[in-house]
Amino acid sequence: MIWFQFQSLIGSYPLALRGLGMTVALSAISLVLGTLIGFTLGVLRTSGNRLVSRVIGLWIDLIRGTPFLVQIFLIFFILPEFGVELDAFTAGIIALTNLAACFICEIVAAGIRSVPTGQVEAALASGLSQWQRMRQVVLPQAMRVSLPPLVGQYVLLIKDSSVVSAIGLTDLTRVGWLVVQRVPNGLLVFAIVGIGYFVVCYPLILLARRLERRMSAAHGEVQL
């Protein structure tokens, strides 16, 4: 019995590899896009324009306040009503990028706000332009604060990519779901799926931890 299951599991090996590839592709594309958009929006959010900041704030609340699953359904089923034809992969990328941009925007904005006003004043006093102040003084310091949560956020987003299996994309989780229909051993199948995610996510978790420790060491905080 176990041997038979094992054999059909090995038979599912190409499928599993495709699933892993899909998960990695989905995560990688939307992380890159999300980071670019999130950075831009984060800088805009703290630029001092009230209206822009409000609009971004509202969008963030809408994204943070609703389940990702519902967001995917909205994008996948409702955008076509506006005449936008989407396949599941594009819908998944849009949903994940949107989610990533939202969280990264907040992380970057928090990083920028954490830079003491004295730094901006010093830059002002030495005659740097707004762009120079941002690029030379504020962003480098903000990045140091933002980096650990940013890496942590990447882990969350890779995990969230599993939810796109709900619209039929054959990612790692969907592969597990398909295999378990043929090999009725949920513990084994989803333990293997879990290992797949673990292999991708755990190094990032360790990296985030290391960055965080280095940060607090640099700031001279007491380690307990």
Partner: protein
């Protein structure tokens, strides 16, 4: 376009959506209570010096944090019957949510305890308190204060995560929206209404978190929602 947006259908489905809303609410409350219990136990294990308790707790927390909730949910949903435990979907869902959020709550509580300065511990030691007395009288009262806002943040995460339970056909809010969407081919009506209901819960919990942070004089929740 959405010019045919049908409020009539939404009103027609209001009882179903209402039931879904109530179901999401109470299953979130039950799961959060479960998660608190799991979190407290894990955190207590993690703070021990003995590796016998510390190591399993750490491994559990890492395993939960490095894998998606959906995979954990399917692990239990397809796996438990294998162990001879055939449980109702609702129960499996609550179990998965509790076990998942518990790992995050353990880390929140631990961060709260470690945020208490060394001097506080030493003041307790110097006045002759035992470990239990220091925990009870000095550390925990201060740690709980800084823990409440992030715990409310975790509650927001849990409410949103509960939407995944619709994928193992638990009748809750997202499931109700799906039914409306597929019965009447009206995805807009179904999912926008669903989203609005979640936003209601989100804004409620968020204001609670902000208010509690103000009352307790600690900084508000971070970005992990």
């Amino acid at each position: 376009m959405l010019e045919n947006f049908s409020f009539r259908t939404i009103i027609e489905y209001l009882p179903l959506l209402g039931e879904g809303f109530v179901a999401t609410l109470w299953l979130s409350i039950v799961s959060f209570a479960g998660a608190l219990a799991v979190g407290i136990i894990l955190c207590a294990m993690n703070l021990q010096h003995s590796q016998v308790l510390k190591l399993p707790a750490k491994m559990y927390i890492d395993a939960i944090r490095a894998t998606p909730l959906l995979a954990q949910l399917y692990f239990l949903y397809f796996g438990l019957p294998r162990l001879g435990m055939v449980l109702p979907e609702l129960f499996v869902g609550i179990l998965a949510l509790s076990l998942n959020s518990g790992a995050y709550i353990a880390e929140i509580i631990r961060a709260g305890i470690l945020s208490i300065s060394r001097g506080q511990v030493e003041a307790g030691v110097a006045s002759g308190m035992t470990y239990a007395q220091r925990m009870r009288l000095v550390i925990l009262p201060q740690a709980i204060r800084v823990t409440i806002p992030p715990l409310l943040g975790q509650a927001i995460v849990l409410v949103k995560d509960s939407a995944l339970l619709s994928l193992i056909s638990v009748s809750e809010l997202t499931r109700a929206g799906q039914l409306l969407a597929s019965d009447r081919f009206m995805p807009a009506e179904g999912f926008i209404t669903t989203a609005a209901c979640y936003l209601l819960l989100y804004y409620g919990l968020k204001s609670l978190a902000v208010l509690s942070a103000r009352w307790l004089g600690v900084r508000p929740i971070g970005s992990r929602i």
